[in-house]
């Protein structure tokens, strides 16, 4: 007589409510999973969530409408209100300027909060990981805030050999230009803090001041790696400033103005009702100028593949090495502020600012288009960072002086030819 012995397992302790066991037949295995990702329910759900987020953001932008034209009436309303109470006008103007400055100051802060999380998620998914998943419940949405609090509570270390005052001032010298530089940037139609006529020159001039802070940081740390990082940074930023500025000159030649919002506004309209009149669509000149500007911007913001000033594997972290806590956070903030600035500039110079890419998409407000273009360009920055290895120092200089600079100079000449051609065409000298 055969008796069957049931194995007496104790009850599984594994939490079935919010956990799951992956059985061998449907276990995670990339070669099998990547053949048909749409068969995975989690993948379909993720795609649906992404589409919902995008359309929700578009709907919110549509409901909000244009912000720029509504600001001036708000100010005149406040002015009249103040006059009726006998408050002097200069007080109102001062308060208005302070409010505008506070809003402008929030731009790099909010940008850093979002961009750090976005970078971590993008980098993780490019490496088939997930990135932060716990803080903030939904895909680590509050991870950056937790990191910020951590940095805020961290001990502020000043090395023994450091020059104390310069060490303290360096992050300030880096962050102040990074905030000031946003003043003439148009964030949409009529949505600009200071509508400078020399906006382009102002942006490049003020943005260049941050190099000083980086050299200060490298020098004051009293550390050979920091000093090397600072010097490399100086060499790199000064060299790449040239092709970066030269690549914008064709745009300025075509637009005939240095005012950033005017340059963005000039690109309204469509060729043949389909192709937008963006500067990137000007034959050859526009594309070359954009590529050179993009590469030089990546180099200007010290990001991989041009991150030799803060190369972790060779210089520890370059000029960042001796900084901790909020001082480090300021460097970090300024780096992401410059990334945002480069993307905003590219959107304004080459992608028509707030102009929609197709005529029927004009129902979305201009700031939404500006933001969308900026985010797509920012994605390019992250994309480059997680694709390319770092340049060697000499190759970096070769690339700049032997490729980018001649190409951008040639591009200026080509822009002259293009303008002559367009003038002839407009005057009816070509093809009747």
């Amino acid at each position: 007589m055969e008796e069957t012995i049931q194995p007496k397992f104790s009850e599984p302790v594994f939490n079935r409510s919010h956990g799951r066991l992956l059985m061998p037949e449907n276990r995670y295995w990339p070669t099998r999973m990547w053949k048909n990702p749409w068969s995975l329910p989690t993948y379909r759900r993720g795609a649906a969530v992404l589409a919902g987020l995008l359309s929700g953001a578009a709907g919110a932008a549509w409901l909000l409408g244009e912000i720029g034209p509504r600001v001036a009436p708000l100010y005149s309303m406040a002015e009249q209100y103040a006059l009726s109470y006998g408050i002097p006008l200069f007080l109102v103007q001062t308060a208005w300027t302070v409010i505008k400055a506070a809003v402008l100051l929030a731009v790099p802060l909010v940008n850093a909060l979002f961009a750090v999380w976005w970078e971590r998620k993008i980098s993780a998914h490019m490496q088939s990981r997930m990135g932060p998943m716990y803080v903030g419940r939904w895909h680590g949405a509050l991870q950056t805030i937790a990191d910020g609090i951590k940095l805020f509570l961290k001990e502020d270390l000043v090395p023994e050999s450091a020059d104390k005052i310069v060490h303290l001032l360096a992050p300030v010298a880096v962050i102040i230009p990074a905030i000031l530089v946003f003043a003439p940037i148009p964030f949409g139609r009529e949505l600009v803090y200071a509508d400078l006529d020399i906006g382009t020159v102002y942006v490049f001039a003020v943005g260049g001041v941050s190099v000083m802070g980086i050299i200060m940081a490298g020098w004051a740390s009293g550390n050979k790696f920091s000093l090397l990082g600072g010097l490399r940074s100086a060499a790199q930023l000064v060299s790449y400033e040239l092709p970066r500025t030269f690549s914008v000159i064709p745009v300025i030649m075509l637009a005939g103005t240095l005012n950033l919002s005017a340059i963005a506004g000039l690109q309204a309209g469509y060729w043949g009702g389909v192709l937008p009149r963006w500067f990137i669509f000007y034959p050859v000149v526009g594309q070359v100028a954009f590529v050179v500007f993009l590469i030089a911007s990546v180099a200007e913001t010290n990001r991989i593949p041009f991150d030799i000033p803060e190369a972790e594997s060779e210089l520890v972290a370059g000029f960042n090495t001796e900084y901790s806590g909020m001082k480090f956070a300021l460097f970090f903030l300024s780096e992401f502020a410059y990334v945002l600035l480069s993307c905003l500039l590219m959107a304004a110079f080459f992608f028509g600012g707030g102009e929609p890419p197709l005529p029927f998409l004009g129902f979305l407000p201009s700031w939404a288009w500006f933001l969308g273009k900026t985010l797509v360009l920012m994605f390019c920055f992250l994309w480059f960072r997680w694709t390319f290895p770092r340049f060697r120092v000499d190759r970096l200089m070769d690339f700049n002086w032997k490729f980018l600079l001649p190409v951008s100079l040639l591009n200026i000449a080509a822009a002259g030819v293009l303008i002559w051609f367009l003038d002839c065409w407009a005057a009816g000298l070509l093809g009747g």
Binding site: M1, E3, I5, P7, K8, F9, S10, P12, V13, F14, N15, H18, G19, R20, L21, L22, M23, P24, R27, Y28, W29, P30, M33, W34, P37, L40, T42, Y43, G46, I122, A124, H125, M126, Q127, S128, R129, M130, M133, W383, F384, W386, T387, F388, F403
Partner: protein, 184 residues
């Protein structure tokens, strides 16, 4: 000049190829297993923690001899009086008609076990009394805990000596992947 243009265009093309690879992977699902909430169940031939059935064991000691690291020890139970034997199956049977284990105690020292599976191979009973389960989540905080002990009536995972009071108790703080109890 021709070489220069060729070099530049080739570099440009290779750059685009690299960008394509990362973009492709970006839109493919991640392969991460979120461990505490998601667990991989190993393949059936996985050699995990040893499970021991005190009622199937005939206390022959084959596993003790097979073990290369000598981590298994056992003691036979005292012989059962003749009048309680049931002649039908040759197994000792208790007055209630159930089988009585032939084992007094059985220990496995996981500090020495190398999970080779020879003890399971050597076990002569028809349903193995000792076998590798799929459990890979054993946790030991002291050396004493690494010795698992089984007596009559213990479950498959045995008991371990608590370092706090020196008493043997069931292994409670261990999470088991035990939905797939492979038993040959």
């Amino acid at each position: 000049m021709k070489n220069y243009i060729l070099f530049v265009s080739e570099a440009f093309w290779n750059t685009l190829k690299g960008l394509w690879v990362t973009l492709k992977v970006l839109f493919l699902p991640a392969i991460t297993v979120q461990y505490p909430t998601e667990k991989l169940v190993p393949y059936p031939r996985f050699r995990g923690m040893l499970a021991y059935d005190a009622e199937a064991c005939i206390a022959c000691g084959m596993c003790v001899r097979a073990c290369p690291s000598k981590c298994i020890a056992l003691a036979k139970a005292m012989p059962v009086p003749q009048q309680e034997l049931c002649s039908s199956s040759g197994q000792p049977v208790s007055p209630e008609g159930k089988r009585v284990p032939k084992i007094e105690w059985y220990t496995i020292d996981y500090g020495r076990c190398n999970f080779c599976g020879l003890c399971e191979e050597a076990c002569p009973t028809k349903t193995k009394a000792l076998w590798h389960s799929l459990d890979f989540e054993a946790v030991f905080s002291t050396r004493e805990e690494m010795t698992r002990r089984w007596k009559r009536g213990d479950d498959l995972w045995g008991t371990a000596r608590r370092s706090a009071d020196g008493q043997f108790s069931a292994v409670a703080d261990q999470i088991h992947i035990q939905d797939v109890p492979v038993r040959k």
